[in-house]
């Protein structure tokens, strides 16, 4: 069975990859056992362009997670990849792109230092 680790272990290797349907080439995120377009269960892990657009973002002030993980306030980004899927992410350190800005993926270590995360910075 697919688990979220299948995604994160690729991130740990610095590889931003999501599922792509082998039948109709539709990209999908989060993990799903079948293609929502053609219902095929055949897929492969593929690296999208890594380019996307900032749909929106927020600044979280409420402390929902331990201080060792996040220093409030912090920004959270909602990105649409050029390939279609939306995902929650973060902005690269020191960056605050605006809604509609073009961005690209970059890897950064989390605060605890135990997980490499795909984040986004203003596209070159």
């Amino acid at each position: 069975m697919l688990t979220v680790d299948d995604y994160w272990k690729r991130c740990a290797d610095g590889e931003f990859a999501v599922q792509q349907c082998s039948n109709c080439q539709t990209w999908r995120f989060p993990l799903s056992p079948l293609c929502p377009v053609c219902l095929s269960r055949e897929f492969s892990w593929e690296q999208p362009s890594g380019k996307g657009t900032v749909w929106s973002w927020i600044r979280m002030h409420q402390r929902y997670f331990p201080a060792e993980d996040f220093e409030v306030p912090y920004e959270v980004a909602f990105i649409q990849l050029d390939e279609g899927p939306f995902l929650i992410s973060g902005f690269a350190a020191g960056e605050l792109p605006q809604i509609g800005d073009r961005v690209e993926v970059v890897f950064e270590m989390n605060k605890r230092g135990d997980q490499l995360l795909p984040k986004f910075r203003t596209a070159a």
């Binding site: 979220v4 995604y7 989060p30 749909w55 929106s56 973002w57 927020i58 600044r59 979280m60 002030h61 409420q62 929902y64 997670f65 993980d69 996040f70 306030p73 912090y74 959270v76 980004a77 909602f78 939306f86 995902l87 929650i88 992410s89 973060g90 605006q98 809604i99 989390n110 997980q115 995360l117």
Partner: protein, 377 residues
């Protein structure tokens, strides 16, 4: 086919339960309390009830046994999501109209405060929670904030755009003896309050409190025999806008518009005829999206439309007359349904909308629902 009527509504106290901070309460107990109130309100014998819908409580088995309703003809159990209150009421109406049952009790119990529910953090589940948490993203409010940030950006809504909504709820709560929050607030107080998930501030957020709500529905024919004001459900409609995120790409506009078109057409009214509306407000931006999707305001302009008192008591469209989810009680739409009925009975004291004949419930969320209620003369 005859119409469906709401003959009984019941609520637990909200304000007094909130002030007693040490109490630990059970969701079943709260639901049962409201059920007893609704049965007394309807003036019927409990044994007349042949349908039981439960919401938020863990098990309809336990609930049925506790209420002494072991052999109902129809049973539905709904999850603890606010969008489900409208769905449940809609399903109950359909069951009564089709003759599957005659008199259905819908019971809801919420012990969120006693149970320490946070609606965010490690215990929070959503389709993308295992990914979101790595970035500190969590909670339905944060997702609505994501959507509102974009709305604000696209439509030029100012910093205090949501203030009239929070202020209106508190002003109405001040007139509701049962409301949790009864102190009015000003724009300055709204702006001075802390951010939770910026751009949303404290007063944009619903409460977390304990309470129960029950509603009893039956045929209009049966309602007429009971002697009180007859409140009918004239129409109901729904539409999904479902994704992995509590953020709609078009601010739920198309789904809300579709529900609006159908619910007004089925009720045979125009939106101008609505005397009072109860609009789902887990977070204040959803009120703006509702007013736009249902055509009261132009897309992107509801923040401006609400600024001049239109939504207040005495205004063109009084909304959330009980104080809504940010002042009366966070009963996930259930208490808004009750208020929609009570306003038509015409006995709501200081917060009564004068001569209210038609009320509307609106919930704009991943499942958009709306109903039109009417007092029959």
């Amino acid at each position: 086919m005859g119409r469906v009527a709401i003959i009984g509504v019941g609520t637990t106290p909200f304000g007094s339960l909130y002030r007693d901070r040490d109490a630990t309460r059970s969701d079943y107990d709260l639901a049962a309390w409201a059920f007893a109130e609704a049965v007394a309100d309807a003036g019927i014998e409990k044994d007349e009830i042949d349908g039981l819908f439960t919401a938020r409580v863990g098990s309809y088995n336990r609930m049925a046994d506790m209420l002494g309703l072991q052999r109902p003809t129809v049973i539905n159990g709904y999850e603890a999501a606010g969008r489900m209150s409208g769905v449940a009421v809609q399903a109950a109406a359909a069951m009564i109209e089709s003759g599957q049952a005659t008199t259905i009790a819908l019971v809801y119990g919420n012990n969120g405060r006693s149970a320490g529910v946070k609606y965010g953090g490690d215990a929070y589940s959503s389709p993308t929670a295992p990914y979101d948490a790595a970035y500190g993203m969590t909670s339905p409010g944060a997702y609505v904030s994501v959507m509102y940030q974009r709305y604000k950006h696209l439509f030029g809504a100012p910093e205090d755009a949501l203030a009239p909504l929070a202020i209106n709820n508190r002003a109405n709560g001040a007139l509701n003896p049962n409301a949790v929050m009864r102190t009015p607030i000003t724009t300055e107080e709204y702006l001075a309050a802390r951010f939770v998930a910026e751009p949303l501030r404290l007063f944009d957020y619903c409460l977390i409190n304990d309470g129960g709500v029950a509603i009893i529905m039956t045929t209009e024919e049966r309602a007429k025999q009971l002697g009180g004001p007859v409140i009918t459900m004239e129409a109901t409609a729904a539409a999904g806008d479902l994704s992995n995120f509590y953020s709609s790409r078009d601010f739920y506009y198309e789904s809300a518009k579709s529900v609006a078109d159908r619910v007004y057409q089925r009720a045979g009214i125009t939106r101008d005829q609505v005397d009072v509306a109860q609009i789902y407000d887990n977070f204040t931006p959803t009120i703006l999206l509702s007013l736009e999707g249902f055509g009261f305001a132009q897309p992107g302009r509801a923040w401006d439309w609400v600024r001049d008192g239109r939504i207040e008591l005495g205004g063109e469209l009084p909304i959330n007359t009980s104080g809504g989810h940010t002042a009366e009680s966070y009963m996930q739409g259930w208490a808004l349904h009750v208020e929609a009925v009570r306003q038509l009975r015409g006995d709501q004291g200081e917060r009564q909308v004068k001569d209210a004949e038609i009320s509307q419930y609106i919930c704009v969320a991943p499942i958009v629902t709306s109903h039109i209620f009417r007092r029959q003369s």
